[in-house]
Amino acid sequence: MKTADTRAVASDADLVSAIASGDESAMGQLYDRYSAIVYSTAVRILGDRTTAEDLLQEVFMQLWRNPAAFDSNRGTLAPWLVAITRNRAIDWLRKRRPETLVADVSLAIEPDLASKTDFARFAGKIRAMLDRMPKTQKDVLEMAYFEGLTHSEIAAKTGQPLGTIKTRIRSGLLALRTALTQ
């Protein structure tokens, strides 16, 4: 996705390198760029704005303390931060010990989201895709992603067979992949 903003914008990789050198203003720039998606993901999963603020703080402090954990060759920063936020939020939600180390997250998608306009357009595309999806499939996908339920738990909650749950989750993820490439 290309941004219409033609001003020179520091890349995520440059800002993360600056953080590694102790540059606080670089941290501020990354916060301005990605705090909204981290915070909204945390609010959606945790259902509480105060707790979501705590998680937002924790995610960015982790980036500050260990910027080397983000490898720009393995993906872009937005999905990386989102993945960490989601995993940690589910840990909090289910009162589990942290299961995912920051360095374990490795992602392949490359949406280039350098401006707020890009984010809004991208979010709209994903929402439209979800709205087109059958409700039963969307519910199953959201239960797995936002509630952290296992397929057995989803089957018990919805009364659908395990095989149906599996198929709906996979085809739902593939539909999202398609939305990204359109």
Binding site: E24, S40, W64, R86, N87, H151, R170, R177
Partner: protein
């Protein structure tokens, strides 16, 4: 159905952390050996993060930004001010303190660098341990006294083709070696089956003989702890079948 297709739906669940129990263990074992499925898992993990973008709307309050930057400044210990003194010797303790801070900063930087190096070494060590485990599993399957060695012979008295299966039910490891196999048409494939004491035959790998009629199957994905009554080979359509569609051409009792 290929080996990868068999794991396609479990990969999606695993990406979401929604797979549990025996299915999770079986998939993780397969992932250790299959780069194709590891790549697909990474792609699915990326796909799932797209869901988060549907939540865009709420924005954090301005105080969150201040709180973060305050915490960062606190960690850096950047709030150091030096009062003015009239006599130069009164500055000595501060000069010494500054020198100590510089040394501490240098040591801190060195420590970070060493930590990164250590993390790399640990990663490499874990990788080598994994490879060693795979090698040990192979040797164990071939040499363990519990390992069953089964020779498969053609059902009809064709003398040349021969297959040997080495199977360790306690770990689910299987090594199959065959030779003198007849070539197949391009739309056909040989499929190996594990025939359990009870229940239906379990697919144990697809193969095509090379130009000398030789073929191998090493550690196909199999459930652990299944006692084999026999192994068999059938000719199936390209891509394999979930259940045999033809009579076995080779069979060996365990």
């Amino acid at each position: 159905m290929s080996v990868h297709d068999q794991f396609a739906e479990d990969l999606a669940l695993h990406a979401l952390g929604a797979l549990a129990g025996q299915e999770k263990e079986t998939l993780e074992k397969h992932l250790e050996e299959c780069s194709h499925c590891r790549g697909e898992l990474q792609q699915l993990q990326s796909d799932m993060t797209l869901l988060a973008f549907s939540t865009m709307g709420p924005v954090p309050p301005p105080k969150s930004r201040k709180r973060l930057l305050r915490a960062i400044a606190r960690e850096r210990g950047a709030q150091v001010t030096v009062p003015k003194r009239s006599a130069w010797w009164l500055l000595v303790p501060y000069v010494v303190s500054t020198a100590l801070i510089v040394v501490a900063a240098f040591l801190w930087k060195e420590s970070r660098s060493l930590n990164r190096t250590l993390a790399n070494l640990e990663r490499r060590h874990a990788e080598m341990e994994k490879q060693l485990r795979v090698a040990q599993d192979l040797v164990n399957t071939l040499t363990s006294p519990e390992s069953k060695h089964i020779t498969l012979a053609p059902v009809k008295a064709l003398p040349q083709p021969q297959g040997k299966a080495y199977y360790l039910s306690s770990s689910g490891h299987l090594i199959f070696l065959a030779n003198n196999l007849a070539p197949l048409l391009p739309d056909k494939v040989y499929e190996l089956w594990l025939i359990p004491s009870t229940g239906s035959p379990i697919p144990a790998g697809l193969f095509q003989p090379d130009s000398h009629g030789a073929a191998t199957v090493v550690n196909p994905p199999l459930p652990i702890g299944i006692e084999a009554k026999a192994f068999a080979i059938t000719i199936e359509p390209a891509g394999g079948s979930p259940a045999p569609t033809s009579q076995p051409i080779m069979l060996g009792a365990a």
